[in-house]
């Protein structure tokens, strides 16, 4: 449980940061800037992170699912937690909720990081 919890938190933050960079930095730079400029090219190169996000998100989804089953979350909250990895910035809020929830239910969970 503790291992899953830690893995979940780390993955949530990594997925959240990657998604924020991809959607809030790379995407506007790639499509809004003039084509051919260095910044536009940088945005395009940065778009490779989408792929990284995709694969880490996959691991996140599996870890979050197993955590949800162990912690006995409702299916509604489980789905929100899984989908959060696809909506920019939502995952940070979800991560706080999860930490709150789990710490309230399992006082033995030491504060991590």
């Amino acid at each position: 449980m503790k291992g899953l919890f830690t893995a979940y938190r780390v993955l949530a933050i990594v997925v959240g940061v990657l998604l924020a960079v991809c959607s809030l930095v790379a995407l506007p730079m790639k499509y809004l800037l003039t084509e051919g400029t260095a910044a536009q090219q940088f945005g395009e190169d940065l778009s490779v992170l989408w792929l990284v996000h995709g694969w880490i998100f996959m691991i996140y989804v599996v870890v979050a699912f197993f955590l949800s089953r162990k912690a006995g979350w409702s299916y509604g909250f489980t789905i929100v937690a899984l989908v959060a990895g696809l909506v920019p910035l939502l995952i940070f809020w979800v991560e706080r909720q999860v930490v709150h929830k789990l710490k309230a239910e399992n006082p033995d969970l030491e504060p991590v990081a």
């Binding site: 792929l51 694969w55 996959m58």
Partner: protein, 263 residues
């Protein structure tokens, strides 16, 4: 098993099927895009602008693997005495020959590159070999190399386009490559390229990885569905037992009831 088919589980089953199908469709689509883009890149080199032969390879260089099918400008003098035919070449589904004449690149005593002029059904019908100067564009191709032996070295027909066989017929240094003349020479139909360039290993890798990712998601949907069903069935059994327990308790309570009334 019968329990899992209860109508109240149907929406869950349906959702699992729809999601799994969606991931499979998306995965197949990405893999398709990966293949299409690789093929497009492979073909595209043959359509790119011609470059000078010397920019691609020198006379003594090994064949540059990334330049298969690269159009090159060829400018020089025909060595018509070195004209040969290569057997077993199809065109429009018909078996025939390639007609080939080396071209001294830049003229004079320069090294030559064998140029496939085009396709003929029979060497007897072939036009006279070209002579004089030529300026043409050809697709660069690596020589054949499966080592098939020319069973009759005395004629002008080769089973394979090997530089080692061509060099027997011309007193000239040869490039380690041949060219297929675009549009054919002297009215011959253009020979079909036998070797198309290969796409780079990383071309459209992103599509491949996305495709695989979708399949993994598909597997995950199945896993989620399995876990969900297991939990639902276990919960169902637990509540059945609880109901049974409650029934027992109620019965005992009923039996006890009259006594309490008496007291």
């Amino acid at each position: 098993m019968r329990e899992a088919l209860r109508p109240r589980f149907w929406p869950g089953h349906l959702l699992a099927v729809v999601l799994t199908l969606a991931t499979v469709v998306l995965g197949v689509w990405q893999i398709g895009a990966w293949q299409d883009r690789r093929e497009a890149e492979a073909r595209d080199l043959t359509r790119s602008a011609p470059v000078a032969l010397d920019d691609v390879m020198g006379p003594d260089d090994p064949f540059p693997g990334q330049s298969v099918g690269q159009p090159v400008d060829l400018d020089g003098t025909w060595l018509s005495e070195g004209t040969l035919f290569v057997s077993g070449r199809e065109h429009d589904g018909q078996d025939g020959y390639w007609m080939l004449t080396p071209l001294a690149v830049g003229g004079g005593d320069n090294p030559a590159v064998p140029v496939v002029l085009g396709w003929v059904a029979d060497p007897a019908d072939a036009p006279a070999p070209p002579t004089g100067e030529a300026d043409l564009v050809g697709w660069l191709q690596p020589p054949d190399g499966t080592g098939q032996v020319d069973d009759d070295p005395s004629d002008d027909v080769l089973p394979q386009l090997r530089i080692a066989d061509v060099i027997q017929r011309v007193d000239r240094d040869l490039y380690g490559a041949y060219a297929v003349a675009q549009g054919g020479v002297d009215g011959l139909p253009q020979a079909d390229l036998t070797q198309l360039p290969e796409a780079g290993r990383f071309t459209a890798l992103r599509n491949l990885l996305y495709g695989l990712e979708w399949f993994v998601f598909g597997a995950f949907v199945v896993l989620m569905w399995w876990r969900w069903l297991g939990e639902q069935l276990a919960a169902g059994r637990r509540s059945d037992e609880a109901e049974a327990d409650r029934d027992d308790e109620e019965r005992t309570a009923d039996e006890d009831a009259p006594d309490t009334v008496d007291v």
